[in-house]
């Protein structure tokens, strides 16, 4: 585990950073009551995943072609960014509306969709 600190930056490091971002994002989503905080958590999760795609798509980090995503990885991460932007736009609009109706952005108060 600690060997990583002594090695040059490689795929594993990226994956670890991605995982940390992902977990941080997920925890952020699960714990933040503020809707904006949740959205930020979402961004973190998406970017953590993006980081993995980019890392797998890089020629420098992964030499074995069998594990390479190549250009696909880059493109998927671009798609994810676009999607995240679109999603953020929609989500922010929802949040804004929610705020207009309920004067709050607390997600715990938004439980009208319960079964």
């Amino acid at each position: 585990m600690f060997d990583l600190l002594s090695q040059p930056v490689g795929l594993t490091h990226y994956l670890i950073v991605g995982a940390v971002m992902f977990v941080a994002g997920a925890v952020c989503m699960a714990t933040k009551r503020n809707a904006l905080g949740v959205l930020m958590g979402i961004e973190l999760v998406l970017n953590g995943a993006n980081l993995n795609f980019v890392a797998f798509g890089s020629n420098f980090l992964e030499r074995n072609p069998a594990y390479q995503l190549g250009l696909d990885g880059q493109i998927i991460s671009l798609f994810v960014i676009v999607l995240a932007a679109a999603e953020a736009a929609v989500a922010l609009a929802i949040v804004l509306n929610f705020y207009n109706n309920h004067s709050t952005v607390d997600v715990d108060r938004a439980d009208e969709l319960k079964g």
Binding site: A26, M29, A30, D108
Partner: protein
């Protein structure tokens, strides 16, 4: 010869059927208002007559006209020389033994007269038989459409088609009213108006055609089952035709009565058929042939009168055998009883069809039909079918059965004659006269006079159809049946009057004794002679001769009463008299034709033996058809009765006595009628009041209708009502309650099943689904953060599962 004859008669037989079908399908479209239907029907029957006549000529050409026919070349000379009926010389015994083989000796081989006189026939009679078509062929039961052609068949064919042709022409005139809409003045509707209906011209000729087909079917039938089929067909035609004016209550009742009474007779006939078929195993008269024409199964007649026994009647072996199988103690005796039962059964059918006592009640009522129908169906042909069947079935009748036939015939002839005295409806007089004459025929057959009975059947057909058509002509002119409203019509309608006079003279048997006479003279003399002959041999039954002779006197009386009341004296109803007129030519021409035949049909053609009644070609032809072995004396086993051979009655002494008695009685009746209704020496009213009880008795037709009403109809209705009551009270009640109980039970049961199983299943599924929904609802909290945790945990779980659970 056989194929030509059978094909000719087949064609003559089927033509009326074709006509029936054509009229049935295209009737109203034939000519204006269906006028063409009459031409189709008449054309068919006239062609039938032409074919029958051709057949008759061919027959005479092949077999001669002599009663001693020339069946095969072996005995031709013997028959010519020794047995010519005209010569009364004795047969040379030597010639007989030389030329005749033993089997051919048959009829002549009798103790009393047989071989000594020239009458009778040598050898078996000529009869062609075979099958056209097999209806069903189970192993034992074979029913075919076949033919049995002898001289009688051909004579009957010619007679039926000739009379039917005349009547078809006559009906064209008589039924003229039916061409357009008819107002029936005898039917009053509930609103007080008379019934108006479309004419039924087509339908009338359609029924006539069907009737002719059925009647000819009986005549040509080659087996008794086929006879029975056509027997029923003429029955239904008779029903249709009696009920032609169906809207009249009297007509529909009469039609029903005729049909039901006939069923009673047919019931007996079916028993006879069962007895015959059950024991003999065949229905065929002559025998069943295979494709090659060989007889594979001997017919009924052959079984009863085997060639080896010289055609003497013997209980058939098959009957004895079936009696043995039934476990009879004395099979011979039981077999004989079986033969008697068969004979009586067949006769029972004939009693119904020929309206003999005690089933005579339908025939007078049958006069509700149109007059041409009365002339054709209810006097000349259909009612004679019973007599014809007795004649055809003659070889199977034991003396006991014949005695029964004679007694029934004797009762009928006397009873009907007495009723005819008081009847005032012109057609009813003729109906009772028909009954009486049918009684004569049966009587003649019953006392052993086969030729006499058959001859009377043929002569009677001519003069009775003539009489009926004359009466129809009168009715057509004065529009009433009641003789009390007629009188003096001779001046208005001379042709009808004088042709009817011919008919009356023929029916009373007018003639110069021992010399010459009208057709009835020959047949009635033959009957009385045979009756006298029978009486001489059976002293216990000689009373029947006197009854028959008395019947002859009564016949003469009522026939001339009818003629005088209708045509002589002053008109009783001037308005009807004024409107009367001679019938159109299409109606009187057939009268003239029939009058000609009524005079000459039985006249001897042989100039040398002109006074010998047996020299008549008709008698000779009938003699050819005489059933084998019936020309000899034979005695009953169970009853003390002896059937004398018919040619015994030609004995000079007997014939002279019978002729004189017949002449005397007829003259007595005629003179009595003259005294009462012409010269007015006696006043009929006075006579009537003098014999008031008898008059009432006769006027009410011996109270037969009332008697049957009391004996059969009322008890039947009473039983019916009782049973109906029981039906309603007990059976219906039970059924109703059973139904109610059952209904409530099934309702409850049904509900239970429905609730428990059908509804239960559906509800259970619904409830489970609902519960599942409620349970699945629980995780749906609506809390976003919780969902995220679920997602994470779920992802983790899937990851762990994929890592540890699914990989090996």
């Amino acid at each position: 010869m056989e194929s030509i004859l059978s094909n000719l008669l087949l064609l003559a037989w089927l033509l009326p059927l074709a006509s029936f079908c054509v009229i049935l399908f295209f009737g109203p479209r034939l000519g204006t208002a269906g006028r063409g239907a009459a031409f189709v029907a008449t054309g068919a029957i006239v062609s039938g007559f032409a074919l029958s006549l051709t057949a008759l000529i061919l027959w005479v050409g092949a077999h001669g006209i002599s009663g001693a026919h020339h069946a095969d070349s072996a005995d031709t000379h013997a028959a010519d020389k020794a047995l010519s009926p005209d010569s009364q010389v004795a047969v040379d015994p030597a010639a007989a033994t030389v030329h005749l083989v033993a089997a051919d000796h048959g009829d002549a081989h009798s103790d009393s007269h047989g071989g000594d006189h020239g009458h009778g026939r040598v050898g078996p009679k000529v009869a062609y038989f075979g099958d056209w078509y097999t209806l069903v062929d189970f192993d034992r039961l074979k029913i075919t459409i076949g033919y049995y052609i002898d001289a009688l068949t051909i004579l009957m064919f010619t007679m039926v088609t000739l009379i039917a042709s005349c009547i078809h022409f006559y009906a064209m005139g008589y039924m003229h009213d039916e061409l357009h809409d008819v107002t029936d003045h005898e039917v009053t509707l509930s609103n007080g108006e008379h019934l108006k209906r479309p004419g039924r011209y087509c339908r009338f000729f359609q029924y006539l055609s069907l009737f002719c087909f059925s009647m000819l079917g009986i005549v040509i039938a080659g087996n008794i089952a086929m006879t029975f089929v056509f027997w029923e067909l003429v029955g239904i035609c008779s029903y249709f035709l009696i009920g032609f004016y169906i809207e009249r209550k009297s007509a529909s009742t009469a039609a029903n009565k005729a049909f039901i009474v006939n069923r009673v007779g047919d019931f007996g006939m079916i028993i006879g058929l069962m007895a015959l078929w059950g024991s003999l195993g065949t229905f065929s008269f002559g025998g069943e042939k295979n494709a090659a024409g060989d007889i594979v199964k001997s017919g009924m007649f052959t079984q009863a009168r085997a060639e080896a026994d010289h055609y003497a009647l013997k209980t058939p072996e098959a009957m004895v055998e079936s009696a043995r199988q039934m476990g009879a103690e004395d099979p011979e005796h039981t077999g004989h009883v079986l033969l008697i039962v068969a004979g009586l059964g067949i006769f029972c059918g004939c009693v119904g069809k020929s309206a003999q006592f005690p089933l005579h009640v339908w025939l007078p009522d049958a006069m509700e039909g149109p007059t041409p129908v009365s002339a054709l169906v209810h006097s000349a042909t259909m009612v004679a079918a019973g007599v014809f069947l007795v004649g055809r079935f003659y070889p199977m009748f034991t003396p006991e059965v014949l005695l029964t036939i004679a007694i029934i015939g004797c009762i009928t002839l006397f009873m009907a004659a007495t009723i005819a005295i008081t009847a005032t409806d012109i057609k009813r007089v003729l109906a009772y006269s028909t009954l009486s004459q049918l009684g004569y025929m049966m009587f003649a057959l019953g006392v052993g006079g086969w030729v006499a009975g058959m001859l009377h059947l043929i002569t009677h057909a001519f003069f009775k159809s003539l009489l009926f058509m004359c009466s129809g002509s009168v009715i057509h002119a004065v529009h009433t049946n009641e003789m009390t409203q007629m009188g003096g019509l001779r001046r208005k309608m001379p042709i009808t009057a004088y042709t009817m006079l011919v008919g009356c003279l023929a029916i009373i048997g007018a003639g110069v004794p021992t010399l010459v006479g009208l057709s009835g003279y020959y047949s009635k003399d033959a009957i009385l002679a045979q009756a006298l002959h029978f009486g001489k041999n059976n002293a216990a039954w000689d009373v029947m001769f006197y009854v028959a002779a008395a019947g002859a006197a009564i016949t003469a009386f009522y026939m001339f009463r009818l003629w005088f009341m209708t045509f002589i004296g002053q008109p009783r109803d001037p308005s009807r008299y004024d409107h009367a007129h001679e019938s159109p030519r299409v109606m009187w021409m057939p009268l003239v034709v029939l009058a000609f035949f009524a005079i000459f049909v039985a006249t001897p053609a042989d100039i040398e033996n002109f006074t010998d009644p047996t020299a008549s070609p008709m008698v000779q032809l009938l003699e050819q058809a005489r059933p084998d072995g019936t020309g000899i004396d034979f005695s009953g086993q169970l009853a003390a009765v002896m059937m004398p051979a018919e040619h015994g009655s030609h004995d000079e002494e007997i014939h002279w006595a019978a002729g004189m008695i017949a002449f005397g009685t007829a003259m007595f009746g005629l003179l009595l009628a003259c005294c009462l209704y012409w010269w007015r020496i006696l006043d009929p009213e006075e006579v009537r009041s003098m014999f008031a009880p008898i008059h009432r008795f006769l006027r009410n037709k011996w109270w037969f209708d009332e008697l049957y009403d009391a004996i059969f109809i009322r008890p039947t209705l009473f039983c019916g009502r009782c049973i109906a009551q029981f039906d309603r009270g007990a059976i219906d009640w039970l059924i109703d309650h059973l139904a109610i109980w059952m209904r409530s039970f099934t309702t409850g049961f049904d509900r239970w099943i429905d609730h428990l199983f059908v509804d239960g299943l559906i509800n259970w599924v619904a409830q489970r689904t609902y519960a599942l929904g409620i349970w699945l609802r629980k995780p749906q909290t609506g809390r976003l953060r919780q969902y995220v945790v679920f997602i994470v945990v779920g992802t983790m779980a899937m990851y762990l599962l994929a890592t540890f659970g699914l990989t090996n």
